[in-house]
Amino acid sequence: MGSRDTRRIMGPEKSIPYSLLQTQEKSSFLGEDSSRRDARSAVDPRKYFMSLGVISQAKGSSYLEVGNTKVCCGVYGPMDVQRGSDFNMSCKVLCEVKMAPFSCLVRRSPQPDKQQKEMSRQLKDALETVIILDKFPKSQIDVYVTVIEDDGGLLAACITAAGLALCHANIDVYDLVIGATVLWHNGILYADPTHYEEEYEGREIRSSGSEGGQLTVGMMPKYANGQVTLLVQGGQVSADNLCEGLEVVVEICQRIYNLSRKTLVEYVEQSLEENEDNAS
């Protein structure tokens, strides 16, 4: 587990996850009756649950559940830049995605690894185009995302959670940013894949030239009738499949967008009522 980590309690030198010892029975992408494992049709996304104000001391915070993927995001409002960094007119966005050790089937070491760094960088790119940066010169916004459980569509969930938390922190944004993921598996497009499907697709051998891949999009549905802020695509997909996939993703983002707008509006109404009754 890397160098001896002196700041955490150490277990035995070598310990292997028991899943390696389990007999790997032949697993298929689809369930028995050729529908998806969790009995969803190819296009409809998983169940979404959103809530705001989870962290009391954060300027803005949100908690998002996409099926089993659970993500919590805290935004710490425009604060002055650390000493020593030079002056710039636009605001600096600092993103950090942290995955809890128990968030995947195989325990991840709590020390930061490549995937988390890469995801932080991608989230930073997505958010830098969303926040109106020159509204906060000489300042810095910290966005911390904690992944409690990863069951597929992680980057999309992080983007949606960050978008909600930014709005809750009432930081000026062009529009509420939403993330969505689609997956191709031998020609068929599946929306909102689970971790199992992603894993299965990732292990697929590409030599036979069969179509397959995954597309994650972060977009702002309403601003200037739809702007894509981030597009990450892996695997081999033909051009027209990609365009068709993009339409499906835009349509999914639209539906999530309505849901998150509803949550935000409800939250505002609820806090208004609270102000009234403790004001009266």
Partner: protein, 263 residues
């Protein structure tokens, strides 16, 4: 900034003193009253055992991942239990990115002491085949919202998660040294019903943590410096903790029984 906050930032002492005179706390609680606790079990499907505990605003999630390891030479028939606390920067402005700070390390060490001295889990039960195979339980406590009282929340979370752990059956045949692990997780852990509860009181500069077992015996006290206190104050803490032990334990049992009949 409302006038209250300006007062708080400029003269913190007088702000807190005004509350202490009426022996209240800024969030309206009496000095001795404890924050409401809510416990949920099995909240993370990827972990063998998991729990979410909210003590007032402090929200803590504990996930237990089991792995197989060879037992240490010194005690060949014992498994491992490795508690660790991760204080994520998202939980409070005071916590910075980077390796665990003093607070996180102190709490991890505290949890290790409690688990070791309370004898809640006998490490021998974790052993599958002496000096060959043993379970190693990584109990990671992730703090989502840090608002003080981390000791109590973390300990309750681990206790609840330990009782929610389900391990697969492991069979090992000696000749061809092959271990096979059943696919579903069935086997619960043998928890000796003495789950400890921490009662910690932090008044401004000092904090006292008293951990009590169900039969009222004291399993860990931890007072790292801070305010000088008279010995009899320690007894008040012990009485206070006794009251709370019952409250928290039947809360965990209730949640466990609900879990039993649903699953």
């Amino acid at each position: 900034m409302t006038s209250l906050e300006t007062w708080k930032t400029f003269e913190p002492e007088s702000y807190y003193k005004s509350f202490l005179e009426k022996n209240k706390r800024p969030d309206g609680r009496g000095l001795m009253k404890v924050r409401p606790i809510t416990i949920k079990i099995g909240t993370v499907t990827t972990a063998e055992g998991s729990s979410t505990v909210r003590v007032g605003h402090t929200t803590v999630m504990c996930g237990i991942k089991a792995e197989i390891a060879t037992p240490a030479l010194r005690n060949p028939d014992e498994g491992f239990i490795v508690p660790n606390v991760e204080l994520y920067p998202c939980s409070s402005p005071k916590i910075k990115m980077g390796p665990p700070g003093e607070k996180a390390m102190g709490t991890s060490q505290f949890l290790k002491n409690v688990l070791h001295s309370s004898g809640v889990l006998d490490l021998k039960d974790l052993c599958i085949v002496p000096n060959k195979l043993a379970w190693c339980l990584y109990c990671d406590v992730a703090c989502i919202n840090y608002d003080g009282n981390l000791y109590d929340a973390a300990l309750t979370a681990i206790m609840a998660a330990l009782q929610n752990v389900r391990l697969p059956v492991v069979s090992y045949d000696a000749e061809n040294d092959k271990t096979s692990v059943a696919s579903e997780r069935t086997l619960p852990l043998m928890i000796k019903l003495m789950d400890p509860t921490a009662e910690d009181e932090s008044q401004g500069s000092g904090e006292v943590v008293v951990v009590l077992l169900e039969n009222g015996s004291l399993c860990t006290t931890h007072k790292p410096g801070g305010q000088l206190i008279l010995p009899n104050i320690l007894d008040d803490f012990v009485k206070l903790a006794k009251k709370r032990v019952k409250v928290v334990n039947n809360l965990i049992d209730r949640v466990l029984t609900e879990r039993m009949d649903t699953s």
